[in-house]
């Protein structure tokens, strides 16, 4: 019984971190129609900002906002300097679909190299804000702790905030309009460029949260070559695709679904299927709904 409960809890916790990453990728996609492969290393950089804050302020609750702000600022700079230039240079022809992928892959490598040069030798450790010791029911310990509860709550709060932002505010409307039809949005007076940068900044902040929580949920230690951040890149993207790249709620559903299915497959079938499970899940989901679970249906053809 407890095996089943714990498997579910493990899936929910890892799924919520995938969801955070997926949210970041969805935000970037919705605002600029780009898949940002550098997202995981931007999260890594933000986590190092948080680490530096931890050294100086010794409080997670200061480190987390620092990481988020740092991540948002860095993402904004990348959008302003890098992506604008890219879009100008390669909007037509077959290169249009591939250029952003290659460019963000290049960015991934550049960020890793810079981070490793600056912090490479450090044994970076971040202490979580609350205990990660599991709650006990009698003699059994659940794979659920104050920290994991905090992660869940943060994800929910973040999504609520972002959904409200998108649906209820003018800026949110502008974000949605700019993604679907930048020319028309510009004609109606929306500052499309500002909105795109905003989208990236929000994504940078979400990525920072993912990176920080991923680290403290683990051993607390991380490095430029951590397995966790490598997994974050692929899992975040796959979760975003499962959920449909258009929807934040889809990102959560995608993340949770991915986390839960992998957890159950590992527990009840075999631990060796860790890498092949996401492909099978993706194939099944996209077979039923080619645009992802919450994705918008493509326009009807002639």
């Amino acid at each position: 019984m407890f095996t089943f409960i714990n498997t579910t809890l493990i899936g929910i916790t890892s799924g919520s971190i995938y969801a955070l990453m997926a949210i970041a990728m969805v935000l970037v996609w919705r605002s600029t129609r780009v898949i940002n492969f550098a997202q995981a290393n931007m999260a890594l950089l933000s986590t190092y900002f948080g680490y530096e804050a931890m050294i100086h302020a010794n409080s997670f609750w200061i480190a987390l906002p620092v990481a988020m702000v740092g991540g948002a600022l860095f993402a904004a700079i990348i959008e302003l300097v890098f992506m604008r230039l890219l879009v100008k240079r390669s909007t037509t022809g077959p290169i249009a679909s591939v250029a952003p992928i290659i460019a963000t892959l290049g960015l991934l490598g550049v960020i890793r190299a810079v981070v490793a040069s600056i912090w490479g030798g450090a044994d970076a450790h971040i202490q979580g804000p609350v205990s990660n010791t599991g709650y006990s029911i009698g003699k059994q310990t659940l794979v659920f702790s104050p920290l994991k509860l905090l992660i869940l709550v943060t994800v929910v709060v973040l999504v609520l905030f972002l959904t409200l932002l998108f649906q209820k505010t003018n800026i949110g409307l502008a974000l949605r309009a700019s993604a679907y039809s930048p020319e028309i949005a510009r004609l109606s007076g929306i500052k499309v460029d500002f909105v795109r940068t905003l989208g990236w900044s929000l994504a940078g902040a979400a990525g920072a949260v993912a990176g920080m929580f991923q680290t403290v949920n683990g051993s607390g230690t991380f490095s430029p070559d951590s397995i966790e951040f490598a997994l974050l890149l692929v899992s975040g993207f796959i979760a975003a695709v499962i959920g449909g790249l258009e929807s934040l709620v889809g990102a959560i559903i995608g993340g949770l679904l991915l986390g839960l299915v992998i957890s159950f497959v590992l527990m009840y079938i075999s631990g060796s299927l860790f890498f092949i499970a996401p492909f099978v899940i993706l194939l099944i989901v996209l077979f039923i709904r080619p645009q992802g679970i919450m994705g918008a249906k493509a326009a009807r053809l002639a």
């Binding site: 407890f2 714990n6 010791t133 310990t141 051993s219 397995i227 631990g271």
Partner: protein
């Protein structure tokens, strides 16, 4: 227009061919490849970046620290040893490419401590150091196959194989933990299957075996492992994986209040690495560990003391862990072999030294290397220890008791090997 292009192509190729003819006129070189009057060049390939590089990327710094110390003290017969290191990111294609560069472009005398079974195998098949007569010293893997002289005539193992370690673990369990339920965490590739073979030879029975895919180690997967072990209600849990596996297992076990009798393999059991990565000392306390070399925290051991001093001066701020000790140890053995190869060492004389006098090379390990002309088996033994309250691995009873065995059906016996005293100042006197 097309005809003119074709003519251009012909003339260009003709010119290039002529130019290359001139370029290939290389002067004959009398001395051995990689050996000059003042320098001996060695080459190393290993993952320095990428997820497989964790921990291992300290090895070049460690080996270079020893070589620099040696060079400052006269070198080997007046020659300095230079180590050229190339990053292969644990990809066999890159291992082959970089090794080709080392042998064909940088013209090293020998290859030192290449890492990874798949990579060493690819190099053996493609670069073929055996055919070129290039020594491949002290491969950094526990795969037992590299000790086979017929298949890999110029390759020398150093680490006890995974099979040996599993047999030693099995013997310890049989003698001290019989009747207890045992669970095993293992990597689902050849690392793990070698372990399973060793445990089978030792007759160990497992209540549950939990495989993990290499590269999937994380807090989440570790929680899954623990859930499985808890459900099987085992008393002893053997961790036979890489450092990141034991790391996540132990850190998560603390969070889940799970504390069976831990038994950790040497690859994943270095206390310095684990503690620095966030495993509480309290979790390690009383776990059982194994190692072929003295504990990296045991400063009463003359090798550990000297090597950590050298390393602390060469790479200040970096912790002295198992990878560093093994790296410096291999560098130390290489230097001795080069010295014994004579005033004008050649690849052949270097290998002759290893084949005939290999077992007399000084090294920090507590079992001798078994090199002969027909076997390139390296170390054959490990001692058993328990982690102290501060999380350091110390020999049980305070004395290093080493057990030795082979990679086959041989029994596990207590070793009677007495490690000879370290040569003065750890040099190749």
């Amino acid at each position: 227009m097309k005809a003119m292009n074709r003519r251009k192509l012909f003339s260009v190729s003709a010119v290039l061919a002529a130019a290359s003819l001139v370029a290939t006129a290389i002067p004959a070189n009398a001395a051995e490849v990689g050996v000059t009057a003042s320098e001996i060049k060695l080459g190393m390939t290993l993952p320095m970046t990428g997820t497989a590089s964790l921990g291992y990327n300290k090895i070049p710094g460690a080996a270079k620290a020893y070589f620099d110390y040696l060079n400052a003290n006269g070198g080997v017969n007046g020659r300095k040893i230079t180590l050229i290191v190339k990053d292969d990111q644990y990809v066999p294609t890159q291992a082959v490419t970089k090794t080709n560069e080392l042998i064909l472009k940088d013209k090293v005398m020998a290859l030192l401590a290449p890492l990874g079974t798949a990579n060493v195998k690819a190099v053996a098949s493609s670069v073929n150091p055996a055919k070129r007569g290039v020594p491949v010293l002290f491969v950094n893997t526990g795969f037992s196959g590299f000790a086979d002289v017929k298949k890999y005539p110029t390759t020398y193992s150093i680490l006890p194989s995974y099979i040996m370690e599993a047999k030693i673990m099995g013997k310890y369990i049989a003698e001290n933990l019989s009747g207890k339920k045992v669970g095993l965490l293992y990597q689902d590739d050849d690392f793990g299957s070698d372990a399973l073979a060793g445990f089978k030879a030792a007759g160990t029975n497992f209540t549950v075996k939990v495989p993990y895919a290499s590269g999937s180690q994380s807090a989440a997967t570790a929680a899954g492992w623990i859930t499985k072990f808890k459900a099987a209600e085992v008393d002893v849990v053997i961790l036979f994986g890489v450092t990141s596996a034991s790391l996540y297992m132990l850190a998560t076990a603390a969070a889940l209040k799970y504390s069976p009798q831990w038994m950790i393999d040497s690859v994943g059991g270095d206390s310095t690495t684990l503690k620095l990565a966030g495993v509480p000392a309290g979790v390690l306390y009383n776990a059982i560990g194994f190692s072929p070399v003295p504990a990296t925290t045991d400063l009463t051991d003359e090798y550990v003391k000297l090597f950590s001093d050298i390393y602390a001066k060469a790479v200040p701020g970096s912790a002295f862990d198992l990878n560093v000790l093994l790296g410096m140890n291999s560098a130390f053995m290489t230097a001795q072999a080069l010295k014994a190869a004579g005033q004008n060492p050649t690849r052949k004389s270097l290998m002759a030294v290893l084949n005939t006098k290999g077992s007399t090379l000084f090294n920090s390990a507590l079992s001798p290397v078994g090199y002969t002309g027909t076997s390139h088996v390296g170390l054959t033994g490990e001692w058993v220890g328990k982690y102290s309250p501060t999380g350091d691995l110390l020999p049980i009873g305070g004395i290093y008791t080493t057990y030795t065995t082979d990679s086959g059906a041989g029994a596990v016996v207590k070793s009677t090997y007495k490690r000879p005293a370290m040569p003065a100042k750890g040099l190749t006197n």
